[in-house]
Structures are given as structure tokens and as C-alpha cells.
Subunit: 327 residues, 2 copies
């Protein structure tokens, strides 16, 4: 199991390259939530999401033979960009397998970061099998998006920052809500906080019908979603928690929170209005939970991780248009 | 004349309350500019603009009699919010005189920050006379938006941050482009950099037809704009440079840069896309200059100050829609 030592090593490898993203707040958001809301703005990370941390962590730990051959990632977008950016910096060839229906922006960015992008059909092709075949044929090192210790350790560096920033803000006890897909970031942050700020308790935020982590945490065992498509939160739609991440989350996390797509859009509008941040729907789930699930949260403070901002203009326009008409 | 000592004192008063805003960058923006572009994200400051610094600096320096009576500011928006926020924190009554046609969002925010807002008619009322009358009647201390030493010193703290952050980024020599209205921020930053990083040269960015500072710098004397209305860059439309700020700018700043409204909209789109930042048109002028006036800039690096993000949803939607259609 990944541990704090590996997170500290990852931090050493990331130092000087990762951004320590700021923690922001607004009295207007506090008013809505009925408590102080602190937003860790990971959308300001390189490539627009926390995924840079895990990608950099994995590639920076590879030996020269591995680097010579290159890396492969299967991703609908943010992991793709994180890996592509890190690979480019290390001069490593990156092959990224992306679904044809991934947001156009994420596909384009990945290509422009120098990666070779191979598109697949979500309904008719098995992406795992495709990835396995290509990585074998080309001797590429596969970097999984969450079930990979080096990736979990990299994402955990976000937790180290939260621990030290919270201390400066005098936040000793609080829920820390994390937008959750497969659980790489969630479990990494949970491990970091267990060691560095044990009264900060990690909880997950997921969209309705894709709250596999919340259900799995409740059941105490890995449970799959029934739905496969049907949410705008593309960044965090995973069929089930990871094999490596779930035991960590099951040990360390509080009950999961579930929000609607509409609430994510409203949170995007409020982040635009009050924080001057651009969030994507999946990156706004934790803020939505803090603002609209106030009865399920305790204490005077809540910390949320705004995990990403890679959103197409049409969805963003919709978010700020609809919400401003309703407010 | 304001000096570095006063800026250092302002920094002491602001410490623990102001945000040290991050400096961001993107390889995609570097590609457009043909050099590395570093963006000081002052839109992430409290109240969504750098104006918080000056407001806090002024109120924190007031004696108790002045605080008891309250403060007055005349502003179309960002200065209003900065003063209102600081006044609220110090428990000081704030009266803000705003034009009726100021962006609705800025008027609403100022009210919700606890200030009394008095609206005036830009065409038929003299706002200076109105402000003078009310401040006299109610014994309010007037906080001018730029021609006020304590405000210049407060804005100068942004320059201290740029100096120390640039050092960490190994940027020794560079233009520092600042979105410029009356020159409070520009002159404050110029004074701070003169002392702390003398090879960082401040230059102004202004919208076409409102480039009074660029023209005044060229002429070596204060020159007024012909136009009074007709740009979307509401935050930086001032008739002429300040009496206190101009001598500082004239001594320390390089030639001014001028951009079109359309270029500001495109810079807003690129900040959305590449930095996950929300900028208002006037807050995007410096980025627009760095991206679209590349021939007027020298060197491998350029620093821009993204001064604010208080933009209505309609203008923001327009910016991201138009630009994405053209790209």
C-alpha cells in the first residue's frame, strides 16, 4: 500500500516543477454554505488539473530504459494531459489512448503537448485490451490513471500542501471534500493528511448515478455503478473504485457525498462569480457538495478540492448563463 | 512622492490579510507570444481585483476618529469593492458613489459587502462635487482610487510580490505590463520594482482611444483622452493619468502599449482556456499586449499583471464564444 514515505519522495521529485496551488475563499460562498469554505484551486495546476502531479511522479521515477521506450496512458482527458506534459518535459515519447467522444479540447491539448493520440470507440472497443496490446508491441510503460502507487503518491502531494496551508489558516479540524473518480487523488490526499493533519477528514464528492465510491464506502466493499454514461462530469466517471485506492479510502475516508449535474453547473457559476476560477463539471463536484449538502457536513470550516478546469466553452457558457438567470 | 518605505509599511499592514496571488504560465501562451509569458493573477485577490490592496492600505492607516466617522469612495466598481471589503473588516462605515451604468455585478457586490451605495448619472452629475459634498456633510474620509499616497503604497505591495516571485522564477530582466487606468497600481509596482528588482521595467497597457497614459508618457506631460465612453474595459477608463501617479510613471515606466477591445476579449478567452482564470476586459489588457504586441516587447520573458476578474456573464460568454469560433 502507498504510504507517506512515497508521497514525500514524490514531493521531492515534483519540487520546483509543481505549482503550490492557492487556497481561496469568499464571504459570499461562506454565506451559502453556512460555514467557511476553503477552495484548493487545483484547476490552476499545470495542464489545468491535479493529474499533472501523478503523471510527473510516475515518469520522474522511471529508469532510463523505461524513459527511452516511452509511456502509455488510457484516459478521457485530464490524465492524458498530465502524462503528456510530464513526458514532454522529460523528453519521453507518450502514447495516449482516448475515447473518440472525449471533450475536443482535451484531445487537442494532448496532441499539442506532443503526445501521439489513438482514439477508440467506447462502446465497441475494450480500452484495457487495446492499451495492453499497444504497450506490449511498443515496449511502453503503462501509467494507470489511479491504480498505480506512483500516481497515488504524486496526487498525495496535493494533500501535503493542504496540510501545511491549513495550518497557516488555523484550520485544525475539517472535512476535506475531494471530487472522486477512481480514487487516486482521494486516497493520496487521505494518506498525506493521516500523517500530517489527522483531524482533516477526507470525503468524496461524486455525481448522482456515478457514486460508486460513496456506495462502496457504505457497503465496505467495491461496488460498480449501474450507469455507464449520462453525466456531464466526464473527468470523474469511473465504473468502480480502484483495487489499490479503495482499501485506503475505506480505512481513512468519511461518508461519500453525491451531487447532481445541475448542482455542479451552479458551483461552476459561483466559482466564476466569486473566485474568478474556471472549473469543469467534475472539478466542481466537491464545491457543489460543500454548498448544497450543508446538512451532511459538520463544523465551522470545510475544505474542498477544485480538481480541474478543462471545460469546453459550450458547457461553461451554459453553466454561467443558466445559473445567472436563476439567481 | 510615495516611496519604497511607504510600500513596505503597507505590506506590514496587509500581511496575513492580502493574498499573495500566484504567477501562472502556459506553454500555449508562450507559443503565441514567442517568449515566456508569466501572469500575475491579481484577479484571485480578495474582491476579484488588486484594488483590495489599496483599500486595505488606506483604512488600516486611519486613526480611530477617522474610522469612527467612516469612509467615502467614488468608483465604477473594483475600487468600490476593495474599499467596501476592507471597511467591513475594520468595522468602518463605507459610502460608495457609483455611476448608474456601472456593471450590475459590481454594484450588487458592493452593497452586499455592507456599503451604502449612492448612484449618480455620469452625463448630468459631477461625481467629484457630489463626493466632496457628501464627505463634508457626513465627515467621511475620502479614499481616492489612485491619486492617494496610501493607495499607491497598497497597490505597490503587488510589486513587492512580483519582485520576490520573479527571483524564484529566475527572471532577472523583463518588461512588466500592467493594465492601467489612473496609474495607482502601475506607479506602485514601478516604485517597488525600482527598489527590489530594478531590471524589471514597468509598462502600461490601455485600450485604444483611452491610452492617455501612453500618450502622456510619450509627450512627457499629462494629456487627456478625447473619448469618454466607448470601450468595454470599464475598470481602466480614466480621462487622464493622476497628478501623483504620472510623475512616478514618467520617471520609471517604458513606452505604453495600446490594445483593442477585441484583443482584450481574445485574451480573456485564452486566460479561460489556458490558465483557468476569469478576467474582465480591463483586467486582460496587459495579457492582450503580451500576446498581440509582440514586436513592441523585447527579451525572452514578459510578466503581465492580470488585474481583475469582475465581469458580467454576458460579456464573458461573448468573449469565450467569439474567440473559440475564430480559433
Amino acid at each position: 500500500m502507498t504510504n507517506i514515505k512515497e508521497i514525500n519522495f514524490a514531493q521531492e521529485r515534483l519540487e520546483g516543477f509543481v505549482r503550490e496551488t492557492p487556497i481561496l475563499n469568499s464571504p459570499f460562498l461562506d454565506e451559502i454554505a453556512g460555514r467557511k469554505v476553503f477552495i484548493k484551486a487545483e484547476c490552476l495546476q499545470h495542464t489545468g488539473s491535479f493529474k499533472f502531479r501523478g503523471g510527473w511522479s510516475a515518469i520522474s521515477a522511471m529508469n532510463y530504459d523505461q524513459r527511452k521506450n516511452g509511456v502509455l496512458a488510457v484516459s478521457s482527458g485530464n490524465h492524458a494531459q498530465g502524462v503528456a506534459y510530464a513526458a514532454k518535459a522529460f523528453g519521453v515519447k507518450a502514447v495516449i489512448i482516448m475515447p473518440k467522444d472525449a471533450p475536443a479540447l482535451k484531445i487537442e491539448n494532448t496532441k499539442r503537448l506532443g503526445a501521439e493520440v489513438i482514439l477508440y470507440d467506447r462502446l465497441n472497443q475494450d480500452r484495457e485490451a487495446l492499451g495492453l496490446r499497444i504497450s506490449k508491441e511498443r515496449s511502453l510503460t503503462s501509467i494507470k490513471p489511479y491504480d498505480e502507487p506512483l500516481v497515488i503518491a504524486g496526487q498525495g502531494t496535493c494533500g501535503l500542501e493542504i496540510a501545511s496551508q491549513s495550518k497557516k489558516l488555523n484550520i485544525i479540524e475539517s472535512d476535506v471534500i475531494v471530487c472522486c473518480g477512481g480514487g487516486g487523488l482521494t486516497s493520496g490526499i487521505a494518506l498525506a493528511l493521516e500523517s500530517e493533519a489527522p483531524k482533516l477528514k477526507v470525503r468524496t464528492a461524486e455525481p448522482a448515478n456515478f457514486n460508486d465510491v460513496a456506495i462502496s464506502l457504505k457497503d465496505g466493499k467495491i461496488t460498480r455503478n449501474h450507469a455507464l454514461t449520462g453525466s456531464i462530469c466526464d473527468a470523474i466517471l469511473t465504473p468502480q473504485p480502484g483495487e489499490l485506492t479503495f482499501p485506503i479510502m475505506n480505512k481513512l475516508c468519511g461518508p461519500g457525498l453525491t451531487v447532481s449535474d445541475q448542482e455542479c453547473l451552479e458551483a461552476m457559476y459561483l466559482a466564476f462569480l466569486r473566485l474568478k476560477l474556471v472549473l469543469e463539471p467534475g472539478g466542481a463536484a466537491a464545491l457543489a457538495a460543500a454548498l448544497f449538502r450543508t446538512n451532511e457536513i459538520k463544523g465551522d470550516n470545510v475544505i474542498v478540492v477544485a480538481t480541474g478546469g478543462n471545460v469546453d466553452t459550450t458547457i461553461f457558457s451554459q453553466a454561467i448563463k443558466n445559473a445567472s438567470e436563476h439567481s
